[in-house]
Amino acid sequence: MIGPRYVPLVLKQVVRHRVRSLLTVAGVAIAMYLFVAIQTMQRGVAESTQATAADTTLVVYREDRFCPFSSRLPEYYLPQIEQIEGVQSVVPIRVVVNNCRASLDVVTFRGVPRDRFVETIGKGTEVLGGSLKDWQRRSDAALVGETLAARRGLKVGDTFDAAGITAYVAGILDSDQAQDQNVAYVHLDYLQQQTDKQLGVVTQFNVKVDDPARLNAVAQQIDELYASAEHPTTTRSEKAFVAQVAGDMIELIGFTKLLGWGCLAAVLALVGNAIVLSVQDRIKEHAVLQTLGFNGWLIGRLIVTEAVVLGVIGGLVGAAGALTTIQLTRVSFSVDGLSIPIRAEPQLLATGLLIAVLLGVLAGLVPAVQAARRPIASCFRAV
């Protein structure tokens, strides 16, 4: 945009009014901090709820129930569901949470049969530290999602208590699946005994279908099978299930989009205000530069670059601050045992910086055009 030889000139102008520039950068940083934090939530919602053509998992839940405490299905549904054409595998899961409300620190236990654990977790999941064999051997063993482990400071060999259940950390799970990062997988029978002493009762079945195109047909068959049973079911794709069960929270997070736009507007206004004031202070100086031979287009580019510098410094500080906070706190929105992951992804830093550059250009554009088009002689007369 400008040659490197002009960079010292721009930087000197940026630090000319130190307090003003610092306040502007601080304002931009705060706004970008909020914006990036909101973006991480939006991404978490998208990751958890947006269906893709490759989705093959169904969740069978008790009809008209939305909480793991109230969804109770008999475990004997398992072989019946397995018989349905198109079903590849079925995993009965018991879910226990220490807090049924929406919270940033929920511990979710998922009880799964030890011989079906591998079917439960996705392909992108691996056990870091500890081992799957340890987990299979020990009845109170838990494989803890990385986010939960980081938040609670858990490591392999630790024992922890939550929701009245004591579990031994046999391994840490690293997963690209949103729902696996914030849970502790334990043995189904152990969880059943520890909670309500009811063996044979599960919260849900996770059903893998052999072809994504058959997802709806299989769901319909399952629900028809139990339509007149004592425990009727509602079967949905996993992401649709998350979208419905965590609907209120997702709606709230969706509302934060507006706040995100508000943050960007604040950045625009802050940088714009700083540049307008700066340009007004320097009408005569710009006329002097033009007298020396700087053309209006170059003056305009220098002004826009000043705005971009302010925006980028603030954007960098704010975005890096938000991502660092998220990385350190490892929070995750949870409701009814379902998680909306909040992850510090490096591309958000790049997105934040790109937006800061664009906002800087936008904020500097009007004062730049005004300064570029102002007749030189009139600037000297006006001052």
């Binding site: 002009y6 031979g293 287009w297 030189i376 002689a377």
Partner: protein
């Protein structure tokens, strides 16, 4: 052939509902290497004429040819490029950029030219030496006296080696010794480097440094004086008596 030719040069400004005409059909030729002083009461059009010659304003009517080029017809950006190559401007109030050092201020016009950092450095060092401020290169304007600031401004005006230097009351804000030093410097630029100098001044003593003085009133040339070199004697003509050359 004169370096600067003004033909029926007029400038009109709008002011409220009316208009003002600081220059009104001026004819003037200025040869290369001259040191010309422009004098006259406030509003006589001398600064307007200076600005037109410097290419920072445009005539409303007439032709202004400098070095064979009618600069009134140049586009905004080409006029800026022309200024960068041909004109150095010295202001009454120096107009240095306060956040830049003396060195950086002098370097500013060179940024527009395709020069390496080293070439720029050499030129800035030469210009600062010429004005006697080689040891003040890292000083900011606030750390310099008025006379020193004006010398830095002169260094900035000559660093690109322009053909024409225009000065708008260059001693108007200086005490007598500083004013004398600045005028001596301008005279050297004229005599030793053969720069064409056009200076606006209110002060008759300052005008005596020039080899020609033009008196303007109401946008017209009213008197033309030529100082005889070294003797201090002055021959005066009226425009109707002869060309203002």
């Amino acid at each position: 052939m004169p370096l600067i030719e003004c033909r029926q040069l007029s400038k009109t400004y709008r002011k409220g509902a009316g208009t003002i005409k600081p220059l009104d059909g001026l004819d003037l030729d200025i040869d290369a290497g001259r040191f010309l002083a422009l004098m006259g009461p406030s509003g006589s059009g001398k600064t307007t004429l200076l600005n037109l010659i410097a290419g920072i304003d445009r005539p409303s009517e007439g032709a202004l040819t400098i070095g064979g080029q009618n600069i009134a017809k140049l586009s905004r950006s080409r006029l800026a490029a022309w200024r960068a190559d041909h004109v150095g401007y010295v202001f009454q109030l120096y107009n240095l950029v306060p956040v830049l050092t003396a060195y950086e201020n002098v370097e500013l016009p060179l940024l527009l030219h395709k020069l390496t950092r080293r070439e720029r450095h050499e030129r800035v060092a030469t210009a600062l030496s010429l004005v006697g401020l080689a040891d003040r290169h890292d000083h900011y304007p606030r750390q310099l006296s008025g006379g020193q600031e004006q010398r830095v401004a002169i260094a900035r005006a000559i660093v690109t080696d322009p053909q024409i230097i225009v000065a708008d009351e260059p001693t108007g804000d200086l005490d007598k010794p500083s004013a004398h030093a600045v005028m001596e410097l301008l005279c050297r630029l004229n005599s030793e480097l053969n720069k064409t100098l056009i200076m606006v001044t209110h002060d008759a003593a300052t005008a005596e440094y020039a080899d020609q003085t033009l008196h303007l009133d109401k946008g017209r040339l009213v008197e033309h004086s030529v100082q005889a070199a070294f003797s201090g004697e002055t021959a005066t003509t009226r425009p109707e008596e002869g060309a203002a050359r």
